[in-house]
């Protein structure tokens, strides 16, 4: 297990390095000078040169990349002050320390992702189990068609609809907002309730269908029948034997969906105007704000890798064959 962790950590670092290198050099492959955005309508070559120097864009690209990497581990000095490690630089557009900005924004995105994850796992897997248990009945058909409808939903469509119904016209639910959990647990929960629900919808449907089909498959497994044959109750067999087996393919898909989950959280933030990483990512790309783009990319990638590691560990927990081989 330890060896596995070490191997994975090295892999993750290498992946992060490649992602940063590709992002960095891709940024400069775009035939658009970030300084132009800061230069605007009446841009003269002189004004452009000043901005280049201000942003550190006057140095060769590899040197800039090297400085960026060094900054992450050793910190750097900027006009607005020292930026201590881990330093992802300062934003082109507002001179804010990128790392501080991300640290400030990340809790929201994390709350959204994890909360959404929990919601769609509970709702999706639960609905799938109920459908599987009642296979072929009206319940099953309702659940299956509902999941089909929901699959075709999009956050940016559903979001405004839910807002219109439950916030603007009835006022039943709180308008999405960000309250740090440290300030008020109930404020945090109520503020994120709608985003969680809306965001989970696109995933829920998928997990309902998957949970249903893997569960039906598992219920036909011989060891499930064997467990029944030795007198275990149907409920016990359903959860301990069949469900346990159906988790394996679900965890596999979950591992693949983590990127989408993060992306979904970002779209959700933008839809509901929540100040998280997603909004930051969008703005940084529009503003051609390289340090911010890099920071968002690397931190998001790091978290996806971390989540992947957790998912892999879950495999081992669920299936002893993985653990012991």
């Amino acid at each position: 297990m330890l060896q596995f962790l070490i191997r994975r950590t090295f892999g993750a670092i290498l992946t992060l390095f490649l992602i940063s290198a590709v992002t960095f050099f891709m940024f400069f492959a775009i035939p658009q000078d970030p300084a132009l955005l800061a230069c605007g309508k009446n841009c003269t070559p002189d004004a452009l040169a000043v901005i280049h120097q201000n942003l550190g864009l006057d140095k060769p690209v590899p040197v800039q990349f090297w400085n960026f990497l060094v900054g992450i581990f050793a910190g750097r000095d900027f006009a607005v002050g020292h930026c201590s490690a881990p330093c992802f630089g300062v934003s082109f557009s507002n001179q804010q320390n990128v790392w501080d900005t991300i640290v400030d924004r990340f809790p929201l995105t994390l709350s959204l992702s994890v909360g959404g994850l929990i919601v769609f796992l509970i709702v999706g897997l639960g609905a799938g189990l109920i459908a599987a248990k009642n296979k072929g009945t009206a319940i099953d058909k309702v659940f299956s068609s509902a999941s089909l409808v929901l699959t075709s939903m999009q956050i940016y469509f559903l979001g405004p609809v839910v807002l219109g119904l439950f916030v603007y016209s009835t006022g039943w639910l709180d308008k999405p907002s960000w309250v740090p959990i440290g300030e008020s647990v109930s404020g945090w929960f109520m503020g994120l309730l709608i985003p969680w629900l809306v965001m989970s919808v696109i995933f829920t449907a998928n997990y309902t269908r998957m949970s249903r089909s893997t569960m039906i498959e598992q219920l036909q497994e011989e060891h499930v029948r064997a467990a029944r044959a030795k007198g275990m109750s149907s409920r016990y067999v359903f959860f301990r034997y069949a469900w346990r087996g159906s988790l394996i393919p679900i965890v596999t898909i979950l591992g693949m969906d983590l990127g989408a989950l993060f992306g979904g959280a970002m779209v959700t933030e933008i839809t509901f105007g929540l100040p998280g990483i997603g909004r930051l990512a969008r703005d940084s790309v529009i503003d051609k704000d390289l340090p911010l783009t890099m920071g968002v990319m690397i931190v998001s990638a790091a978290f996806i890798l971390l989540f992947n590691l957790i998912v892999d560990a879950m495999y081992a927990v669920i299936d002893p064959r993985v653990r012991l081989s």
Binding site: A226, K230, R240, R244
Partner: protein, 353 residues
């Protein structure tokens, strides 16, 4: 159809000593394509300490019969009629709760492939201990001790350590032993063994069969042994039931059925089996054709499309009238008794050697 109205088997008198008595069992599944009559009017008896072999090709209804004894069919998609009397209690109308109490306790089952029948997610010990705790109310500790004891009994070396292993850490033969240990943990009075040795190589096969015999002697259990291997039956079983298309076509003691088989299907089964004594140049003769569709079985005798002796029966009865299985020793075939004897002696026996 020109069939006669009377198509039911003769209702055999209930054997007063029978521990398990199956009467006119019918198991029908409704599918999208129509009604599948997986078992259609089966009756047999089994006494304590006896072993009944059931043979037949796949799809003949052997496994369905046994699963319905255990009550493991989905009630939503299947209809079960007839009687299954276990020690006087009718299982067909027993509640789920009652069945749960009996399963793994009074009656248990050994599955064909222990690799799929044991859950990969729990230790062997836990899987053996589970039913013991459930049925005897034993504590975890007691159940664990019992599991170790059972593993030892079925011949697993070092059971104290192996009890915490997962099934995938066992070899095929050991898994099968563990499976048997799991079935026997509550000393069941009825043991259904569904092809218990098919997945194993020959030496292990013999060991497992010996093990079953020993255990039967120790506990006095009744055993139903389902197999398609007549060799296994010859070694272990007392009585034999040959099934075809959801019905019993021949019944008798092992000796009787193997020495003087009466049904052309039984002849075919025997002919398709290799024997040590037979001439190497004599080719095996598989039964021509394939098992009939249970959705739409042939009219008359279900075996008629594959039978070589339809011509010996007059009046086309084979394709119009279903032959009945008499109670006790006998076979469900329109051939007259002397004809059967004559054909067996003249045509079949020489081939069997």
């Amino acid at each position: 159809m020109t069939t006669l109205t009377k198509t039911e088997d003769a209702p055999a008198p209930t054997d007063p000593d029978a521990f398990l008595s199956v009467r006119d069992l019918r198991v029908h599944f409704s599918t999208e394509d129509g009604l599948v009559k997986a078992v259609d009017g089966l009756s047999f008896d089994l006494e304590r300490g006896q072993t009944l072999g059931i043979v037949g090709e796949s799809g003949s209804g052997k496994s369905v019969t046994n699963l319905s004894i255990l009550g493991l069919h989905n009630p939503q998609s299947s209809t079960i009629t007839g009687e299954i009397l276990l020690d006087g209690q009718d299982l067909t109308d027993a509640s789920d709760k009652e069945l749960e109490k009996l399963r793994g306790n009074k009656m248990a089952m050994i599955f064909q492939d222990a690799l799929t029948a044991l859950s990969p997610y729990y230790t062997v010990g836990r899987q053996i201990a589970e039913p013991y705790m459930k049925h005897t109310g034993a504590s975890k500790k007691e159940a664990r001790a019992r599991a170790i004891e059972m593993l030892g009994k079925v011949g697993i070396p070092d059971p104290k350590n192996r009890v915490d292993d997962y099934p995938h850490q066992f070899s095929g033969g050991m898994r099968q032993r563990a499976m048997i240990a799991m079935s026997l943990v509550c000393n069941p009075e009825l043991l259904i063994a569904d092809e218990p040795t098919t997945a194993l190589d020959v030496t292990v096969q013999a060991q497992i069969l010996d093990l079953l015999k020993d255990l039967q002697q120790e506990f006095g259990s009744a055993i139903i042994l389902i197999t398609h291997d007549l060799g296994v039956v010859a070694n272990v079983a007392d009585d034999l039931l040959v099934m075809y298309a959801g019905r019993a076509v021949e019944r008798g003691s092992v000796r009787e059925v193997l020495k003087r088989p009466e049904h052309p299907y039984t002849w075919g089964l025997l002919g398709s089996m290799p024997r040590l004594a037979s001439d190497v140049s004599e080719p095996l003769r598989p039964i021509p054709g394939s098992p009939p569709s249970l959705l739409n079985p042939p009219a008359g005798c279900a075996f008629n499309p594959r039978c070589d002796y339809v011509d010996l029966v007059g009046g086309g009865r084979c394709t119009s009238e279903r032959p009945l299985l008499p109670a006790g020793r006998g076979s469900a075939c329109h051939l007259e008794a002397e004809r059967k004897q004559q054909v067996f002696i003249e045509k079949i026996q020489p081939r069997l050697g």
